[in-house]
Symmetry: C2
Subunit: 333 residues, 2 copies
Amino acid sequence: LDVEVMEEARGRWDQLTKPLGSLGKLEEIGIRLAGIQGTVLPSVERRAVVVMCGDHGVTAEGVSAYPSAVTGLMMQNFSNGRAAVNVLARQMGADVHVVDIGSACEDDIPNIVREKVKPGTDNMAVGPAMTREEAVRALEVGMGFARKLSSEGVQVIALGEMGIGNTTPSSAIASVLTSHPLAELVGRGTGIEESVLPHKGHVIQRALEVNQPNPDDAVDVLAKVGGLEIAGLAGVVLGAASEGVAVLVDGVIAAAAALVAYRVEPKVGPYLFASHLSQEPAHRILLEAMELSPMLHLEMRLGEGTGAVLAMPLLQSATRLVQEMATFADLGL
Amino acid sequence: LDVEVMEEARGRWDQLTKPLGSLGKLEEIGIRLAGIQGTVLPSVERRAVVVMCGDHGVTAEGVSAYPSAVTGLMMQNFSNGRAAVNVLARQMGADVHVVDIGSACEDDIPNIVREKVKPGTDNMAVGPAMTREEAVRALEVGMGFARKLSSEGVQVIALGEMGIGNTTPSSAIASVLTSHPLAELVGRGTGIEESVLPHKGHVIQRALEVNQPNPDDAVDVLAKVGGLEIAGLAGVVLGAASEGVAVLVDGVIAAAAALVAYRVEPKVGPYLFASHLSQEPAHRILLEAMELSPMLHLEMRLGEGTGAVLAMPLLQSATRLVQEMATFADLGL
């Protein structure tokens, strides 16, 4: 980040006609965007959401309320422009990019980018979800996609995902990378019954015991107990940060992906912006591990990037306020 | 509210392609807007923010970081379209209406609606801020203004205000109407020093002892320890609710006004939507007294309606999701 420009931006915020610091997080966002873009007048007018899709072998253990086939059905829904994230992205002026990085769906669906590393992970409860090579390939897909968006002028990317079963690997990643006990990290995902929660916890426990992921090697964690869409999003974070593109983190899956990227390369930290606080318990813990504080408290748990897209106008507000507000000097003070 | 339409709306949300309830507060907002407008497809395309302006005799006690003259300067800033609320309202597609209901400013500023009940309240630390008749007149100004906006097609009104010193009467109102101790309710407002806080608390304590406002008579509280802009906003709430217009509550001053209206007429409750959670400590307590839960956590403390305007896209999202998302039947499920 450009520290000098950030100082200049802070000085400008302090001259605007409002009590010092009274715009709270919007000021912090504006100053950070200034540092990212190297200008006191940053812009987030070019916005995109990347929805990485993948399936999960661990659904064989009965950890999800829906079957894997729903991942493909939802890709069709994205393709038709009628899922929640499409509606919100239209409202917020963001392009939607859906990437099949690892779904089990074999259909050729229009408007879906095909970058399939493999058709779903293996069951992490009995062995690694994928090989290290597969994880690295998925990371590279994400990095390449972020670089492509950057070359097209995109200034902020929201992290979205679709993958039946993917709160299970997200909680597993959170457990290894934050050292919090599983009991604090396992939630109901898309809506399993309260009574299934202990089973979901046992499955994750088994995956950790079978695979012994190394907490000091985030790529090892990603490969053994992660997911292809999670790896893809971690790659998007790495690629975006390297190109000076801001990243809006969504819910628990996107936050797990962001934390993997952050552990691989801590310099991505200042490029990350939290959006909402999900109902999934691991989410808050993952955000705290990156010192991120969510702006929206909407009790959502949908994924797809919906929470991140909802936060886009707030980033835009930060850029507009510094551009358009009068200064004290303008008022003759 | 139309309970049948709300049931129908709930049924429709449950058919959308997402896990049940996974859009959290947006679903609750959508269902409530349906009940308010009497249609499963409500609209918030016509939006306005009303900024009521007033001055406060209690500033003579040294409770504010700025002199009363700043109220007039900010009215000029609103008139020029260059205050924070103007910038945000332009972004969010809302009209800004600034009403001088009680400022000490004698200038005739363009674009400001003149409905001055009197040029600032009296010092509540030595006697009532205003007479009951003046409070009722200010309430009527607000009610009339809300009805006028409704007749022009406005579907949601954000509550905004400007008035140097107005966190002091807001904390006083909160103290009387919620029975919480003053120590939990007094904050730094626009930015007084931490060391001035006890003095601000003593001044409020004195105002309560001198005036003995009756907690069971919200208009008495409003007159004795309130403000003209607070009364105006309470009137806006009463007028808006009576016309079936949704109201977005802003920070601590708007919340104090909303609670006055809620105590005068509890039926306004379902028309109220919380927007952000301010840094001012009384805000959370006032919102809880109306069972409102804020959506935005931005650590703001600016007023003007800025937080309420920032929440407008979220109401719009609720209406668009129910209009545009596919149902399970559309996906063949």
